[in-house]
């Protein structure tokens, strides 16, 4: 199962859990699964059915442009990071 890494400032929501294994083949499914386990999670990450603009999602170390639709493999790691500006 993919592993979602929980940002430290969101770990209050997950009872201190850093990493949570959840079912899912897309980022959307991972987020929905986290919402079931820890209600309120989705609202922190998603707005208007999109990843919030101030947040970026990385799958296996790479920030994905396709957001909630990005594919997640069975061994994947999903990270939630602050969105970035480049030079």
């Amino acid at each position: 199962m993919p592993i979602a890494w929980i940002p430290s400032l969101m770990q209050k929501l997950t009872g201190g859990q850093h990493q949570i294994e959840v079912e899912g083949e897309t980022v959307r499914q991972v987020v929905e699964a986290l919402e079931v386990l820890h209600p309120g999670f989705k609202d922190r990450i998603v707005e208007d059915d999109r990843i919030k603009t101030e947040i970026a999602v990385a799958v296996d170390g790479e920030v994905v442009a396709s957001g909630l639709r990005a594919k997640v493999g069975p061994e994947s790691e999903v990270h939630f990071l602050p969105a970035l500006a480049g030079g």
Partner: protein
């Protein structure tokens, strides 16, 4: 000509396609735009760092003969409370709009408050003097730690701190707080044999591009707006301008003119909406060129910072724990640069346990924006200093210590991300193997050598290319990435390589937003990577279509045609690319290849390193660079000369940042050094030749292995310089710039 890497074009050094225009003065930059009936605009800027605007009276300016229109913030559409991401990070539209023209408040000295257009630039300037603005001056705050304190003058009454998607509801100058935590840092520090903690400060510095911002606009009576400008991203400029003007992007065409440097600073818009509205009001095209003081006072510098680094290591030389506290000055409005700093702060090392705690803080300086590997330089300065101290404390050679702790493919960073294939260790090994490092360190009195490493993760984003095959066998390649440093050629070379053409056979062209698919900014070291990839895919598209044309001519199936070494063949029949291009009219007409990319994976980060030899004049505190080497992983150097150029340019900027560059504010928040005279970027006479070593650890995520090289090179120089100064005179500065007076003072007090 062959590069010896198995490629015919990649790795060679052809003359850039836009070169002749640029050495003859014929290339048209934004400021060179000339149109019939052109009017000239000027912007009135706040003399105060923090004030309420009580009233603006433009009547006298309007009455001045020659003045055609006058504009204030009230003329901009009401900006709703929405968050927009227009290619330069997320921002509140209200903030973006207010930064173009202030409405209720000015938040920094130089904040635009009104604009004028007239038949001459001088009349426009005279008109500015006739605009009467009444301000209620407020107390200002200019330092990140002061701005974070309770009771500090507050810039935005309604701004509440965001903590990773959660609104804390607490109003202050603290815009954002977030953390990354890996493992158990407290326990890891407890187990360390040596722990070193230091505090660092860096000044606000500017990108310093030589070409001032400019924009020329024509707002036609049918509502179509054309904007000629120097921008790092024509589509981003279009989107931002559309948002501020509340006009659909389809109504705006941005024509990217040649751009005289950007380094991140020409991603945001400043003058474009003003030029458009002045044109709308006057019915004529309007050109604005920022004055040099305005460029410094009002456009995106990179954040000043306060950084605290704690690192612990074992006796055997392994770094076991690391903590960072990073507070960035985002300027007048919240920014996103501290997030990047968090990803870079310990990026060069394999550390199992750590905490990175980050703060984005508003204060009365211009809104900060990206500057070459934004955020990375500030934190590399801090980390690389502490790494040197740890090595010294443990009695280990600083390079050996870095090699022992190097991050590598598969290393998990403290922000949780696991590295794909990357070249950190290879870059460190290149230090060890370099002529410079192998030569004896300078041994004169007050001379010393320092090393450092740094990182930038690079980005992917969207690019588009189209390629029309000409009947003479050449190809016209159109793309949307504005070319700041030779990227037309590095893109064309990838296209040429794919089709077995020469670089000269491809004619690359940067076109306007109506003529190519959406292409994101020239930034994030992404152009040679992503637009190059689009060119590669467009070449494959051309190849496929040409195979079909050859098949038609030979009356066989397309899959019976193969393409190799620039030749289409089937059995004993063959056409060179050029030969086949001559038969397009008889096989269905023109061939146009096209491709778009928006990579979700495969962006390869780049590491860079420096070796710096310096001499310090202990009486004056002045530091001379005796010898300087820059090493960087390019993945694959498409055009080595321009890769070297990026590395040398980033080095020079980093040396300037290290030694002299800073925003110098008076106590009332006025920028005192808003000129090239007193904002001291390095001159020719301040630098030695800059030696370059290109490391190539190909990026498996790109067809040619490219990693962007534009940015990582600015991260290590200040740290390398500080370490060299420390080794020269025994005092290792913790504050940038390491200017002469500061060095003398440090030597006098022994630290």
């Amino acid at each position: 000509m062959s590069s010896g890497n198995g490629y015919k074009v990649i790795g060679t050094r052809p003359i850039r396609h836009d070169g002749v225009d640029k050495v003859t003065g014929r290339a048209v930059y934004g400021g060179d735009t000339r149109l019939p009936g052109l009017l000239y605009g000027q912007v009135l800027r706040s003399p105060h760092a923090h004030a309420h605007i009580k009233s603006i009276d433009t009547a006298k300016a309007v009455a001045l003969p020659g003045v055609k229109a006058v504009l204030t913030g009230a003329d901009l559409p009401e900006a709703g409370d929405t968050i927009v991401d227009l290619g330069e990070g997320p921002a509140r539209l209200k903030y973006m709009s207010d930064n173009v023209l202030a409405t209720d408040k000015v938040l920094y000295s130089g904040h635009p408050v009104a604009a004028v257009c007239a038949t001459s630039v001088h009349i426009a300037e005279e008109a500015l003097d006739l605009i009467e603005v009444e301000y209620e001056v407020l107390e200002s705050v200019l330092n990140v730690r002061e701005a974070m304190q309770e009771g500090a003058p507050q810039l935005h009454a309604d701004m509440t701190t965001q903590e990773f998607g959660e609104d804390t509801g607490k109003t202050s100058n603290l815009a954002t707080h977030f953390q990354h935590k890996l493992g158990d840092p407290d326990q890891a520090f407890a187990s360390a044999d040596v722990v070193i903690e230091r505090e660092f400060q860096t000044a606000t510095v500017h990108q310093g591009y030589i070409e001032p911002h400019n924009a020329t606009a024509m707002w036609n009576s049918d509502g179509q707006i054309t904007i000629w400008t120097s921008t790092q991203g024509s589509f981003t400029a279009r989107a931002q301008t559309g948002a501020v003007l509340d006009v659909p992007v389809s109504k705006i065409k941005v024509v990217p003119q040649e751009i005289g440097g950007g380094f991140g600073g020409k991603i945001p818009i400043y003058l474009e909406p003003i030029a458009a509205l002045l044109s709308k009001a006057s019915g004529q095209p309007v050109k604005l060129i920022m004055t040099r003081p305005a460029v410094f006072e009002s456009t995106g510098p990179t954040p000043g910072s306060y950084v605290k680094i704690k690192m612990g290591a074992n006796k055997d030389g392994k770094i076991v724990a690391a903590d960072a506290y990073i507070a960035f000055e985002s300027g007048a409005y919240p920014g996103g640069l501290v997030g990047a700093a968090a990803m870079c702060v310990f990026s060069c090392y394999d550390i199992a346990d750590g905490l990175i705690d980050c703060y984005d803080v508003v204060l009365n300086k211009p809104r900060s924006f990206a500057y070459r590997a934004p955020g990375s330089t500030q934190v590399a300065f801090a980390t690389e200093h502490v790494v040197d101290l740890l090595a010294a404390e443990l009695g280990i050679d600083p390079l050996e210590f870095r090699l022992k702790n190097s991050a590598t493919t598969g290393t998990r960073r403290i922000d949780g991300v696991v590295y794909p294939k990357m070249g950190c260790k290879e870059v460190m090994e290149a230090i060890r193997d370099s002529d410079h490092y192998k030569s004896a360190a300078p041994s004169g009195s007050n001379q010393g050598r320092g090393i450092s490493v740094g990182y930038w993760f690079n980005v992917g984003l969207q690019s588009a290319c189209t390629a029309s095959v000409n009947s003479d066998g050449t190809v016209s390649l159109t793309e949307g990435s504005t070319d700041i440093g030779g990227s037309r050629t590095s893109i064309a070379m990838q296209f040429a390589e794919t089709l077995g053409l020469t670089a000269e056979d491809v004619k690359p062209q940067v076109v306007d937003t109506d003529s190519i698919g959406h292409t994101d900014v020239t930034g994030g070291s992404r152009v040679t990577y992503a637009t190059g990839w689009a060119a590669y895919k467009a070449a494959l598209d051309v190849q496929e279509q040409l195979c079909a044309r050859a098949a038609q001519l030979w009356e066989i199936e397309a899959d019976q045609v193969k393409f190799e070494d620039g030749t289409f063949s089937s059995g004993d029949k063959s056409y060179t690319f050029k030969e086949l291009a001559g038969h397009l009219d008889e096989t269905g007409g023109p061939v146009i290849g096209r491709a778009t990319v928006n990579p979700d994976s495969g962006v390869g980060g780049s590491f860079a390193a420096n070796i710096a030899d310096v001499e310090v004049d202990p009486e004056t505190g002045k530091v001379q660079v005796l010898r300087f080497t820059v090493i960087q992983d390019a993945g694959r150097a498409i055009h080595p000369s321009y890769v070297e150029g990026q590395m040398q340019g980033g080095s020079a900027q980093g040396i300037g940042w290290a030694l002299n560059e800073e925003y110098y504010y008076s106590d009332n928040g006025h920028l005192d050094n808003s000129s090239y005279l007193d904002y001291r970027i390095p001159t020719c006479l301040d630098l030695p030749m800059i030696e370059t070593i290109i490391v190539e650890v190909p990026n498996p995520g790109h067809p040619y292995g490219v990693r962007g090289v534009g940015e990582a090179n600015i991260a290590p120089p200040p740290a390398a310089m500080a370490n060299a100064i420390g080794n020269a005179v025994g005092v290792r500065p913790q504050e940038l710039p390491m200017k002469p007076g500061r060095i003398v003072a440090a030597l006098a007090t022994g630290g």
